[in-house]
């Protein structure tokens, strides 16, 4: 007797003003670990449809988003987040049901990740987020007096285009919220590996605040796209893109010089663990925190660690720390199983393990080779290089943490997050050195993969980078006075 396999279908994207029957649809297939099949239909637009969509979101934003005070936008996003945090809400339920299927990540891991992530977009956090970039957030709503004289106001992009990549669930929320806070009409291009969340968010936002219904659109195209992508990019005045440097470079070449391009390339995270953190009480706890950073989204975040540099000479040796870390990864595997790897991913992982295994006396691969995690321990300083991801982590013993600086500085283009476990003085000293080397975010071990609300992604001003300031100079203000009706 053959069991009928149930196939679930979801329509992805969000196309205000376009009926389902007016566009072509393509299907992306996903299969869950337990064999559930999900078919995601993604829209394929023509170039004229892209242009029409751009006009529509622009017009809607001019009517409804631009005049909205930032406080009201924050309120709308907050209400959307409240629903995404409510386990009984249909949006939350579909996120929990289907994001693990498209991404392949453990369902509990996704559930915890989403909650932790959405929490950073509540009203209080969003206000802080705005305040991080604007000393006076009211500049987003109207002209405000400038200290030097005159007045200043911030305007968001005329059309913001997002290009998302990768399978980190709900990653698109970051840039979507940034765009909303600066009141930009936006069109986002879905990542084929996570084609769901952005469309859901746009729909949810329209539910919580219907006037915003036409201010966002979510589209898709295969790979780099063709004419339809060109048509959209030609309309954008700001493009925010995620992806590898090669992809980003190709995208940049397609844009007119006048288009503002905000790329977020792939990054290489690492951690530093001072001897102070390695007494017999602290070391096991530290290893547990480090393991969480490795486990979250199987190291696929830009902030995920690849290497922990561990200082020698503590009561718990670097090698013993590596053993603790291996044990914690084994524990976490029981709670949050690693994603199933396809043949190519498995082969790349095996190759990394082999390089460690055959890399000479300096390297040791801890644990069984077929475990769904891998710790490579090195006795001597190693270049900062990516591991095979999917819970493969290098632990490198060093005499002094300063020895790491040259190898870190050599990867300046890929630096972003460094986790540090050290005393306060050492934290600030190392942070100064790492910042000079190119690191833009320093967190506690265990928080590497959980950036705080209002962080400056890749060291940039996420909101300020999106706006242009319009200034009324003092001269204009003064020159206006004699022209007033009431002038004497």
């Amino acid at each position: 007797m053959s069991k009928q396999r149930k196939v679930q279908r979801i329509k992805a994207g969000y196309l205000p003003g376009l009926g389902d029957e007016e566009v072509q649809w393509q299907t992306l297939d996903f299969t869950s670990r337990d064999g559930r099949v999900l078919q995601v239909s993604v829209p394929v637009l023509t170039a004229p449809q892209m242009q029409a969509l751009a006009c529509r979101v622009r017009k809607a934003a001019a009517a409804h988003l631009r005049p909205m005070p930032v406080a009201d936008i924050i309120d709308a996003v907050d209400r959307a987040m409240a629903r995404l945090l409510d386990r009984n809400d249909i949006y939350r339920q579909q996120a929990e049901a289907w994001l693990p299927v498209v991404s392949g990540y453990d369902a509990d891991m996704v559930r915890l990740g989403l909650t932790g992530f959405f929490k950073t977009f509540r009203a209080a956090q969003l206000k802080r987020f705005v305040a991080e970039d604007f000393a006076n957030p009211a500049v987003l709503d109207g002209f405000q007096p400038a200290a030097k004289g005159g007045a200043v106001r911030a305007f968001g992009p005329d059309l913001l285009v997002h290009s998302w990549a990768g399978n980190v669930p709900a990653l698109s929320l970051w840039s979507l919220v940034c765009g909303l806070l600066v009141k930009a009409p936006a069109i986002g291009k879905l990542a084929s590996a996570e084609p769901l969340f952005a469309g859901w968010f746009a729909r949810l936002l329209a539910e919580v605040h219907p006037p915003l219904a036409d201010c966002l659109a979510v589209v898709w195209w295969r790979g780099a796209g063709g004419e339809e992508a060109d048509a959209l990019y030609a309309q954008a005045d700001t493009v925010l893109a995620y992806g590898g440097n090669q992809t980003l470079d190709a995208l940049r070449r397609r844009l007119p010089v006048t288009t503002r391009f905000l790329p977020h390339g792939h990054k290489l995270g690492f951690g530093l663990i001072d001897a102070q953190a390695l007494d017999t009480l602290k070391a096991p706890a530290m290893a547990r925190l480090a393991a969480w950073d490795v486990m979250r989204y199987d190291q696929q975040g830009c902030y995920s660690p690849h290497v922990f540099y561990v200082q020698r000479g503590a009561p718990v040796s670097a090698r013993a720390f590596a053993d603790y870390l291996a044990a914690e990864l084994a524990n976490l595997q029981r709670r949050f199983a690693r994603r199933e790897l396809d043949l190519e991913e498995g082969a790349a992982l095996a190759r990394w393990q082999q390089n460690m295994e055959w890399g000479g006396e300096a390297h040791q691969l801890l644990g069984p080779v077929d475990a769904p995690w891998s710790v490579a321990y090195s006795e001597s300083l190693q270049p900062l290089a990516p591991t095979a991801l999917y819970r493969t982590i290098a632990v490198v013993a060093v005499d002094r943490l300063d020895a790491v600086l040259p190898v870190v500085a050599a990867q300046r283009d890929y630096l972003q997050t460094a986790g540090i476990a050290a005393g306060p003085e050492e934290l600030y000293r190392l942070a100064g050195l790492l910042g000079a080397a190119g690191v833009t975010r320093i967190s506690a071990i265990g928080s590497m993969s959980m950036p705080e609300a209002g962080w400056h992604h890749d060291g940039r001003f996420n909101l300020l980078d999106l706006v242009r300031m319009t200034e009324i100079e003092q001269s204009a203000e003064l020159a206006a006075q004699p022209l007033a009706d009431y002038a004497d």
Binding site: G166, G244, N245, Q246, K267, Y297, C302, G346, A348, W352
Partner: protein
């Protein structure tokens, strides 16, 4: 007779047989495993890390497969270095710096392995035929196993007048065209052998000149090794369609050889009329398809990474883990496998830097 010499003698006799039973293969594989475990120190420590011992390795399938990267990192050898040994090296075109090395104390086994199976799969009953080689000779590339292979083909199976059409100045198209014309005129079948990318160069040159040939029946082509960035990359379908069209050789006689520097035995297909073609080897080599991390055999019908156990690899290690993806062609392993390319393209799924992008950027 010392251990190595008696092993070599037995191996030569084994290769000279027409076929073997599973038992015979196993016995020799286990004898070679014991020999390599004893004499090849890096291999022994690899086995120890994998928990493989003389006691628990009971079949050729239990022999730990050494990843081909190990040929770069270590000297995998059972006999000590000698002045007479030949060293074949990998081309090092895959973007990784070090080159893998395969040490052959003498080439008797390699040569017999090559000749026995080349005769069967490429010559198909002919003793000799006129050959054109599109590859540098052994003097130019003394560390290339392919140069040695083709030299052997030319000297052992080429009739008088067989020669190389590639020299330090490049492709000798006028001479090659003359040879092809002569074959057309005389009706004497011709064999053209070389690297896949050299054949692309020939095809490009013929196209540029607007020339094509109708070689007489029985003419054949052997290509091997892929393009390696040395020519334009064209899909296999186009490659064989164009090759067949320009030379007038049916695709069933456009044979691809799949070999590796790390092996001493080659695989062939029965032409490339249907793609991907089925590759198979002689009785002294056996293959497995494994899941890359666990090393376990994949389920029937699933793609896997190819592991080869080549008994002719008596000095290095018999069993290697490749980076090639394969799929069993039929219901039995001896029906051969489809070669589906290299296991590449494990691009980042998220926003964390992947090795692949990192290596590419470093190489750029």
């Amino acid at each position: 007779m010392d251990k190595a010499a008696s092993l070599v003698a037995d191996l030569l006799a084994f290769i000279a047989m027409d076929d073997c039973t599973d038992d015979q293969f196993n016995q020799l594989a286990l004898r070679l495993f014991a020999y390599q475990y004893e004499c090849n120190a890096p291999f022994r420590s690899f086995c120890q890390r994998r928990g493989a011992t003389l006691r628990n390795v009971r079949s050729w399938r239990d022999v730990p497969a050494v990843p081909i990267d190990a040929f770069k990192a270590m000297e995998l050898r059972s006999e000590p270095p000698s002045p007479a040994e030949r060293v074949f090296m990998t081309s090092g075109t895959t973007g990784r710096a070090a080159r893998g090395r395969h040490f052959h104390p003498q080439l008797d086994v390699y040569d017999l392995s090559m000749k026995r199976y080349f005769a069967r799969r490429f010559m198909q009953g002919l003793e000799r035929m006129p050959m054109g080689i599109l590859f540098p000779d052994e003097q130019a590339m003394p560390n290339s196993s392919l140069a040695h292979y083709l030299a052997l083909a030319c000297s052992e199976f080429g009739s008088a007048g067989s020669r190389y059409y590639l020299n330090s100045e490049g492709l000798d198209m006028p001479a090659l065209c003359a040879a092809l014309e002569e074959s057309e005129r005389s009706g004497q079948p011709f064999a053209l052998l070389g690297a896949s990318f050299s054949l692309v160069h020939v095809m490009d040159a013929l196209r540029a000149q607007g020339r094509s040939f109708r070689l007489p029946a029985g003419s054949r082509v052997l290509d091997t090794g892929g393009y390696k960035g040395q020519s334009r990359e064209l899909p296999l379908e186009e490659f064989y369609a164009e090759l067949s069209q320009l030379l007038g050789v049916p695709r069933s006689l456009c044979i691809n050889m799949y070999g590796m520097t790390e092996l001493s035995t080659q695989f062939y297909d029965d032409g490339n009329a249907v793609l991907p073609s089925v590759k198979s080897g002689p009785h002294w080599i056996r293959s497995r398809l494994v899941e890359p991390i666990t090393g376990r055999d994949v389920a029937a019908g699933e793609r896997g990474i190819l592991v080869h156990c080549d008994l002719a690899n008596y000095n290095a290690v018999t069993t290697i883990l490749t980076e090639d993806v394969g799929l069993w062609a039929g219901s039995q392993e001896k029906d051969g496998f489809l070669l589906l390319g290299r296991a590449e393209g494990a691009a980042a799924k998220g926003c964390s830097l992947a090795v692949e992008e990192f290596v590419k950027a470093a190489g750029a």
